[in-house]
């Protein structure tokens, strides 16, 4: 008797060392009587330690695919396994807890809490853990050192440049040691020089710390930093 499809994907992805295993994934939106397809029958594997760039024109579905992998959106059908967990089957509460331990987010506009200092912003994900105050402080200081902002811990976001804010966001994404870091246009709001610095930082995180990174970008230069490029057009993966 053949094993169920999901079990097959899980076993296959575990065997291959896949971080992300996507099978038959579709996503559509309903507007009145209309069904608008965004992603159509996506099959994709991303291995542990990869630095992947998702590219494609506007409306191609790359951000939607990233959101689905990050567990902040639900697919219409199909299966998404991240680190062996079929996240499409998780309840909202379980998914929140899963995101807290498995996903680090980097957003185009940094999304820092304006009323918190850089230190407090980076510490936020650790508030969901059982770490002591001292342990949290040590980790935050380490992460801030890693992104080169040890001297900016007490600054508020509006006291930092765009590049510095994105570094704080990267430190926040790293702090809980997630399984995967997802970055949605991380350099989209930065000038060329600062963008290069941020990309170099991501590259270093991937090469030196072995962090798995999935990045959505329009910018071919940014995509050039990734080890693998995935193109999407009209919701379909293209070679």
């Amino acid at each position: 008797m053949p094993a169920p499809a999901s079990d097959t994907v899980a076993a296959e992805s575990a065997h291959r060392g896949s971080l992300v295993a996507i099978r038959g994934l579709t996503k559509h939106y309903v507007r009145g009587d209309q069904i608008i397809p965004v992603l159509v029958d996506i099959n994709l594997d991303i291995d542990v330690g990869e630095f992947v760039a998702l590219m494609g024109p506007s409306g191609s579905g790359k951000s939607t695919l990233l959101n689905l992998i990050a567990g902040i959106d639900k697919p219409s059908s199909g299966e998404i396994r991240v680190a062996g967990v079929d996240i499409a089957q998780l309840s909202e509460g379980d998914l929140a807890a899963w995101r807290a331990t498995h996903v680090g987010f980097i957003f185009q506009f940094y999304n820092l809490m304006p009323v918190l200092t850089a230190f407090q912003n980076v510490e936020l994900p650790l508030q969901l853990t059982t770490l002591s105050r001292r342990e949290r402080r040590e980790r935050v200081e380490h992460a801030m050192a890693l992104v080169g902002l040890s001297d900016r811990v007490e600054h508020y976001p509006n006291e930092l440049s765009g590049g510095q804010q994105q570094r704080v966001a990267i430190a926040r994404a790293l702090i809980a040691d997630p399984t995967v870091i997802v970055a949605d246009e991380p350099t989209g709001d930065l000038d060329r020089v600062t963008a290069e610095e941020i990309l170099s930082l991501l590259d270093a995180l991937n090469r030196e710390l072995g962090k798995s990174i999935i990045m959505v970008t329009h910018d071919p230069k940014a995509a050039g930093k990734a080890r693998r490029l995935i193109h999407l057009e009209k919701g379909v993966l293209v070679d």
């Binding site: 902040i72 509460g93 929140a96 987010f105 957003f107 506009f109 999304n111 809490m113 969901l128």
Partner: protein
């Protein structure tokens, strides 16, 4: 994360301050109006269940014969009987209004232990037929001291009546009216007998002390039955019912005051809800970010509830603290119109309850919306 709530609350300092000022004003106004309502009921609240009032069944303005006292005393269940007349005199000008009663002093003081007199002053009053007793607030208001001569111009009983202040009473608690003025009924009756003989030996009402308060209804019926089919039929009721009869005359005003007090809370609730709705709408992207990094929907809702409750309770606390001095000032301005005027613990509890309700209700819809906004939609608000 209290620091996040606190920082969020004072993010827009002007908006938060103005909202808080609104809550302070609403809570003070609510407390003051509730206190006015309480003051209206103060007489009935301070009344004793062991005392009945017997008056003319036709109207309070009709007198009863003095000889009813002996017959009432003989009714089963009656412990003692006293009587009084409303005097209605004017002290210097009409503006200086305060209640004045001619009382049968020995029985009256025995029946009202809540009026506390110095023993020496009590004796001095009982011995002096032209003596009088004033409440502490009344004496303080006009600067009277024991021994002062106090002239009253009679309206019901014409002429100038001069009394010697022999005692000043204090209330047993803050519910006792300390703005009254008592003098000897005998002095009034003797003078009236000399000047208007047909109006002598008549009393305005009887105060009847009973042995068992549980028997008040039966004893009232027995007293009234005693005088049925007489020229002056009586109506007996508990002191509380008698006092409530006066309150009932102005019930419509009281209902209006109560309604206004609740409308004020409703208005501030709407203002607060608007503030919280604006606040939450501005922060959808932040709530979405918090949810993306693993915080639950409940946590986001809690942030909004905590902020709303924080503002409402802080405003409420300031409002409650200000209610006391404002109520004191108001009582001073009102003179003897509200003889018993204080912010009761019940009023404070209602103010706390109102602040809590404002905080919770204002946050309900914004919290629900923020908790249920899709993360991807919330994040899109950034762009």
């Amino acid at each position: 994360m209290p620091f996040l709530v606190l920082r969020n609350a004072f993010r827009h300092k002007l908006r938060t301050t103005l909202t808080m000022v609104g809550i302070v004003v609403a809570i003070v106004a609510f407390g003051l109006l509730r206190t006015i309502v309480d003051a209206w009921y103060a007489g009935s609240e301070a009344s004793s269940s062991a005392r009945l009032i017997t008056r003319s069944s036709i109207s309070l303005v009709f007198f009863l014969p003095l000889n009813y006292a002996q017959k009432i005393r003989q009714v089963d269940g009656v412990k003692s009987v006293s009587w009084m007349n409303w005097f209605g005199g004017i002290y210097i000008t009409e503006a200086n209004f305060f209640p004045q009663f001619a009382v049968d002093a020995p029985t009256f003081l025995g029946m009202y232990p809540e009026y506390r007199l110095d023993e020496a002053e009590r004796k001095a009053f009982l011995l002096d037929r032209g003596g009088a007793v004033a409440g502490r607030k009344l004496a303080d208001k006009y600067g009277w001291k024991v021994g002062d001569r106090i002239p009253l111009r009679g309206t019901i009983f014409p002429g100038t009546w001069t009394f010697t202040l022999r005692a000043i009473y204090d209330g047993a608690d803050n519910k006792v009216d300390e703005t009254q003025f008592f003098f000897h009924w005998d002095y009034l009756n003797e003078t009236v007998k000399a000047r208007f003989p047909r109006r002598a030996d008549l009393v305005g009402l009887y105060v009847v002390e009973i042995r068992d308060p549980a028997q008040a209804a039966e004893i009232s019926q027995r007293i009234d039955a005693t005088f049925r089919n007489s020229l002056a039929e009586t109506l007996s009721e508990t002191e509380k019912a008698f006092q409530l009869g006066f309150v009932a005359m102005t019930e419509a005003i009281l209902i209006a005051i109560e309604a206004v007090s609740f409308v004020i809370i409703l208005i501030i609730m709407a203002v607060m809800a608007n503030t919280m709705a604006m606040t939450a709408r501005e922060r959808y992207s932040e709530y979405a970010t918090l949810k993306a990094i693993g915080f639950s929907n409940g946590f986001v809702a809690l942030l909004i509830f905590a902020e709303s409750l924080g503002i409402a309770l802080a405003g409420g606390a300031i409002g409650i603290a200000l209610t006391f001095p404002i109520a004191d000032w108001f009582a001073g301005q009102m003179g003897t119109l509200f003889p018993v005027f204080f912010v009761s613990p019940d009023t404070v509890a209602m103010q706390v309850g109102a602040a809590l309700v404002v905080g919770v209700v204002a946050a309900l819809i914004p919290a629900w919306r923020a908790a249920h906004v899709r993360i991807v939609d919330g994040l899109r608000a950034v762009a």
